[in-house]
Amino acid sequence: MTQATVTQPESTGQNVSADIVIEMKGVNKWYDTFHALKNIDLKVHRGERIVICGPSGSAKSTLIRCINRLEQYQQGEIFVHGELVEGSAKSVDPSINNVGMVFQQFNLFPHLTVLENCILAPMWVKKLPRHKAEEVAMNFLERVHIPDQALKYPKQLSGGQQQRVAIARSLCMNPDILLFDEPTSALDPEMISEVLDVMTELAATGITMICVTHEMGFARQVADRVVFMDSGEIVEEQPPETFFDHPRMDRTKLFLSQILGH
């Protein structure tokens, strides 16, 4: 489905570089009268690793959920692989499934085993035969270092293991963009590193990643670009070195001093 990248730039009225996989232009979103996203402009290139950070309530999650059609938006345009993601789309178009998502609360399916969680979508959406889907799933479960837990149910795993299953599950659909919505915020401190390690390994494979996270160590080590948001706006976008060492905006400085200061 990657050829979608080059489709109809003329219909969107402007040139889309083949290199840009996500483009947000003047996106505005309201929850009733509350202005959640304000004039968001963001371009993400193929293979880029972006970390979005900011204080709670700054609409970081809302932003990436708009990319994945989990939220509607009222103004502006979002293009994924050059295709318009309509702001009012209520139902999913399964063709958008080259965007995967990992949630804060894992959202594994509790009535299915780890393996069944992983093969469900490949079997029902991509129509892979079961043995093929299992092969793919075991491959990814190995990548996240838990092939031996494949026949267990999510409840029997620790939080860190569950989140790694969730990552493997979304990888089974072969996404070329992966969205992370605070993947480590619901974890016990001792399990954060095992998930971050998997994410770091994943980043090395060249997949496009957008992570909403508070893990600044991860941001500094892995990100190509750090996006700082506050009250629904993008305040500052910088490569990690500049962002952490020479932030330009006072708001960014305040935020960094608050979370790095202790």
């Binding site: 139902s91 995967g100 998502m101 949630f103 979508a121």
Partner: protein, 457 residues
Amino acid sequence: MSDKETNAPSTDPDGTMIFVPTPSQAPPSETVGPIFWLRQNLFYSFFSSAITLLGIYFLFVTITGLYTWGVAEAVWTAESRRDCLDQSPHGACWAGIRTWFNSIIYGRYPDAEQWRIKLGFGLLVIWLLPIWIERIKARAWIGISAVLIYPYLAGYLFAGGERGVFMQFAFIASVTTLVANWLHVALTLLTGRGLPDWINRVCGLGNSTEKTQRIAFFSTLLLLFVAFYATFAGWEVAQVKTNLWGGLFLTFVIAGIGITFSLPAGILLALARRSELPAIRILAIGFIELVRSVPLISVLFMAVTMVPLFLPQGVELNKLAQAIVGVCLFFAAYMAETVRGGLQIVPIGQTEAAKSLGLNYWKSMYLIVLPQALKVMIPNIVSNFIALFKDTTLVSIIGLYDMLLMLKAIGRNSSWIGLHHEPLVFAAAIYFVICFAMSKYSQYLETVVGEGANQSR
């Protein structure tokens, strides 16, 4: 117990203390065992001892009283109620129940045709049996076919008469399905391979594409269908009008159709009520709220007395069909609210995860949300089934002779006049046995479905 010695803290070469957990111990012996249980639960204080003794006394009086009436002094064979009273004035007259037993079960269904009812229910049991054999593949299909296809077979067996074009087709298809299902089951049990496997083997299609294999499979079914058509096309049984249906048989027919219809209809209504499309949502809310605020009795009454007013003269509706439609719609509304309760406990994150994996609405409902919602709601769903089963007695007020009305009729018969207690006790016993069995089965289902999440395979 020299292990205990190791409990003493030891030190690593580098001076770090090694932590060894203290071993668990048994609880103090005076807090376990039956004597302790009795003292704790039945004779804890003077007051609780008194209540216990009083309870034992009441149980004793009731049980001995019932035993004397129902067993010790009861009459089992008699010609009439007078005869009963002459034999034993204070005992139960079970002779009346025995004389009427056939009518209690079959209503006024002709004696010579009752084998059809036995065959019909026997076939249902045979149809469903493989569901409990875990080795069989495609058990879901066997269950679904029992709901969608079996009714035509049973319906014809019970009603009889001439078959129209549709009924002819449905009846033969039903027979074909039953035989094909059991061929599959027998082959699996005997050889370990199911019917599709065998067809591929016999036709030498082991390496062919799925499409060819599918064609071979359905051609075999078609062949079976033609064979059964040739055999059974002319086979007919006499018509038995539905006004002769009665007794426990009628109760089972109404409850069976009600139960199989109300669950899927309830699920659809519940989904409609949560729909994002306003028209569908409003229709569902309207239907559910309207039906739930009206007693079933009045729904049945209206179906029978009011509906004919709006029909052209001479058109007569089948009372049984009306009653069944009434029961189905009524319990679909109740089921909808039960299912909605289940849907609400499934976190929104589940649908979001399904969405982001590319599953559309129906797939995410079928694969993710409903299995979780229905599992939690098993006790409530079965409660609805039990209520439905008991409420079928209400059809007696529109003149359908279900089991309860049949039993009441005994007391109005000239030779058994006044025999009211025994039939009611009998009815209570039958309803209790059936409802208790349903309840127990639901508890078993809960553990089976719940096991999934707890067991480590």
